[in-house]
Symmetry: D2
Subunit: 341 residues, 4 copies
């Protein structure tokens, strides 16, 4: 059956599979201390224009969010995030399992607002009794967000400024960073991300890799003994070169951007078709995730032919569904879907 | 350079690489809810002769030890293990990070002794003040152990009996289970492991897979909402079929046993050569790990030509080194090593 | 300076001080295994009309909330509470420090609504993807609430019914239970609390004791090895008889109710005076906490003569302040305050 | 029945009870922000000759050990302690519950040896693979130890030197510090303790107070937002002046030393009587704890008349029992005990 359910339903790009195949006859040192990892890191540093960036490869997104937040947030503090943030809603309490509260701000199409962040912090410190409360300890945002929307460069700069004011590290979840960087109308570059954040990650799992997220500490601020912290979380991959190879491949010949752009193009094509046919887009989002508010009849009809992602009931008669393209989406799949609309 | 440093320095068996390649054109549902995982589980259940076994695939060994122990051990309790156990020594505090103490017993060539376990528990409950102490909450052993040694069937049964007496679940770390099952002189079958333990895992990372450990809850005792517990630990792989496929391949045509046996044969050949040349084997172990006590001069000479694992200083003049074969070790590598001895 | 800042600014009732004095010449066994604790437990069981109730004395409220919630909530679950609940706002992350998320419902004058609780749970299980979310694991409410309001008996029964439907234990924080039980118009008895909850506590710190909270597991459901869990949290008082003696005293001759009633009477008198003078009560609450919305000028004027509790800014020109009576409030203090209004 | 079971079986010195009584008519600000706490801190600073010392009052010993260790030990590290240390054996896993492993050294009559500590650290860093192990993160010792023995000044200085070499904070558990400071032959002063440690505590629970331990950070090194960390552990006492008053009283007119000395004198008298009668003292200890190895018959006979502490079976025919004096022990009790020997 046709599926636009998510962006992690295919194994990996052929280039990565071929790369894996070529390692078979060789031996590598363990835990990421191999040359392929070094090569991948060098390419990422170059792409970020951040010669001092420190990079660590992890397997999955929740794992990455958990480890990064736990390692940069003081014991007396929590992580500030949108109420809709992945760390608040869809990680089964992984953040709290490390002892940190998720402190939520209202979301605006999935994004937090710099002014509201500023007010939150100002109110926190204004309250004389804040010693009995959880301090804001870092700020978590996603680019692209849960709803496929993007922070603009001015928005990012404004958040950075508030973070500076309260000495809060800014962590950007880039599980879908590829789709963000290559979206129509996006004005935030990878170099901007590296410059404006304290730590971010480049998502592989949803953008062409079998698995893997490349965590980038942007200015020599990787927490001390980070490899031990990763091991302590049970997250240190024995055969680290598998991670290095995937990112080395993705950052060769611009592959990461090329495949992400393809997914956005497919999504744009679907959005256009939806608009032409009078469908209601739930959010104005330019990346590979399309949220559409369907009457239940249409929703049911479509799902007899194509797997979509369920998001939430809008009201008794309508449902918000997600149509998700990926680096692996083919023109043929897009046309089949459009024919069903 | 020649390397016998460890058994996780090669990517995976060609069968697995080929299997991965064949998934490229397809789409799969996420998080292990796919048909390949189901197929792999069926094959493992059959191999264990445990139709009721519940199976969950995880990525790595420390992760598996952490999640299993945390999910089966009460809050007021710890895990009983050999002082040399992997969970006590080489996991960067991953067990304690979940709030559980590792309660250590003396080791005998890496193994715990049923009688000492019994005495430990008896003493614990005899002491009227034990409410202020960490209760024994489960028992952790490895087959093969850290030192490549094996529990015999009578030894395993004796431990099981003590566990029954104190209602302690028995967890067997099988990171190197393949090498244990196929070792010369081994009398413990996979079915014995399944029958005598409450939970164990079949190691993939060190026995032919790119990564992956198959956790087997042997009698309908998988903790409630285990998938949520795994997600909470940041350990739920998005593309679960990658794990399923590897175990499906390893449990087809007896591949798991065949490749493990090959590693043992290579190790036997090396052990024979060491003995002939008068080297001192530190432990009498029949699996793929060979521990040899070398005078420092020999140790240094060898390491100019071959990478070995450092274990510990025996005394000022001697060092214990590990020679580790794997499923990927070739006859040519073995002969080269022997020529150096 | 006159103070109505809180209800924990005086040491203890004279009866308790005298009781402590009388223990001086004696020796007691440690950790609560003494006869005074047994006597106190018997009196509480009788007052609750719960012969099977199991009782444990702890030192403070946050400690109690942390230990109870941690011991009754599964690892995969969190605690459902009002967004304004003490555990969510004013405990410095004590709940999250044990790995559990606080799942918030909207509050209505500090209370949760049974129907909204029901919908929350229904939605949770309706969402097919809930394995990636934090399960509701227990329900936390306070009687009286943070805002001095009370659940009515029908409201409590409705919450109990929802808890039954989803097999959620109901935990009632009774830090100010005395003030709730003796408030004008209250229709919920101590026996109701014991019957309708799975676990609750009788607050001592804010109702006449130097310190101490009596946790009551209402139906033989005290978690296994609870004393060890308490010790593990660093919360086991060596000289347990100090706790037992205080509760034994409070539950002799109805002292607990008598002193609480006195505080409510003082608060009623103040509320009356506030109403007569046209002040705006922020909540319609019958217990010892009075929340009043003051224009800033009045607020500042009052605070030159009396210490009040700051709650929040209502708007740029108004502030919500708390006037808090206690078991120790004297008529003279009340009259002085009223004279200032 | 006569009891020498422990040193926390009596309520408090009369001076403290009287001090508590005198607070009854007053109101105090909460959480330790009162003037009595300030006065007590000033007296402790003076006694330590440490004008920069920061002091925090906590309720109990396990709580104190847990909070101090958790707040000074990095996430990737554990606490180094004697295998017999209270934190390793008798705290129900309170340390591990905060995610930190207890790393054990051999004990010598309850004490660790500076040379062995040095070797432990040297070996740790020598092992190239230590990134997979728990780092030593702080050092925990007790003065007096679990066995009533004392570190000499040269021993303490030697440990301090090793700590300096590896940048490890030194934490001294002073639950029985009074008994240590006033023991015959002791050469370590309170000022030495303050000078040689990074943090220590002055035990109140076992030395005259109802409860309470005064944590002293010796050189401006109290962890940031420590009050929030304490609250997060559920350990912040609402009526902080109860703690302040007890330490203010103990540090007035040398009361702390005077009552501790009395206990040591009683213990010396008992030790003398034991020696005269040919009993075997298990350890050569000068403080209020006497460990004596009894044949089982004598042990049983004595326990019909006096409560003693059980320590361990020495062999099938002998038992090690503890005779514990305290600040409350009377001459009459001592004579009664001696008459039984």
């Amino acid at each position: 059956m046709l599926s636009f359910e998510n962006d992690y339903s295919c194994t990996a790009t052929p280039e990565i599979i071929e790369g894996i195949r070529q390692t078979v006859a060789k031996q590598y040192p363990g835990y990421g201390s191999d040359e392929i990892c070094e090569s991948a890191k060098a390419k990422i540093r170059a792409a970020c224009e951040s010669p001092k960036a420190e990079i660590f490869f992890l397997v999955g997104g929740t794992q990455t969010n958990q480890i990064v937040i736990d390692s940069i947030t003081p014991q007396y503090a929590g992580v500030v995030a949108a109420g809709t943030g992945h760390v608040n809603v869809h990680e089964a309490g992984a953040i709290e399992s490390t002892g940190h509260k998720v402190l939520t701000l209202p979301h605006h199409d999935g994004k937090i607002d710099a002014r509201e962040l500023d007010e939150y912090c100002a109110d926190f410190y204004a309250d004389g009794n804040h010693a009995h409360m959880v301090f804001p300890g870092c700020v978590y945002i996603s680019q692209a967000t849960e709803y496929g929307t993007l922070y603009t460069l001015p928005e990012l700069k404004a958040i950075r400024k508030v973070c500076d004011g309260y000495e809060l590290p800014l962590f950007i979840d880039g599980a879908r960073l590829g789709y963000a960087l290559t979206a129509t109308g996006n004005d935030v570059t990878l170099q901007d991300i590296a410059r404006l954040s304290d730590v971010f990650y480049i998502g592989g799992t949803k953008v062409g890799a079998m698995f893997g997220e490349a965590v980038v500490f942007t200015h020599g601020n990787m927490p001390e003994h980070f490899v031990t912290l990763v091991k302590r979380h049970g997250a240190l991959l024995a055969k680290g070169w598998l991670l290095g190879l995937q990112f080395d491949t993705l950052f060769t010949d611009d592959l990461y951007r090329r495949i992400a752009h393809r997914a956005n193009t497919a999504a744009d094509r679907i959005r256009e078709a939806l608009s032409e046919r009078g469908y209601t887009l739930t959010f104005d989002a330019p990346t590979n995730q399309i949220f559409v508010t369907l009457d239940n009849e249409t929703s049911n009809r479509l799902q007899r032919h194509v797997r979509l992602g369920f998001m939430e009931k809008a009201d008794d008669a309508h449902t918000v569904m997600r149509i998700c393209t990926s680096w692996a989406t083919t023109d043929e799949q897009v046309e089949k879907l459009i024919a069903l609309l």
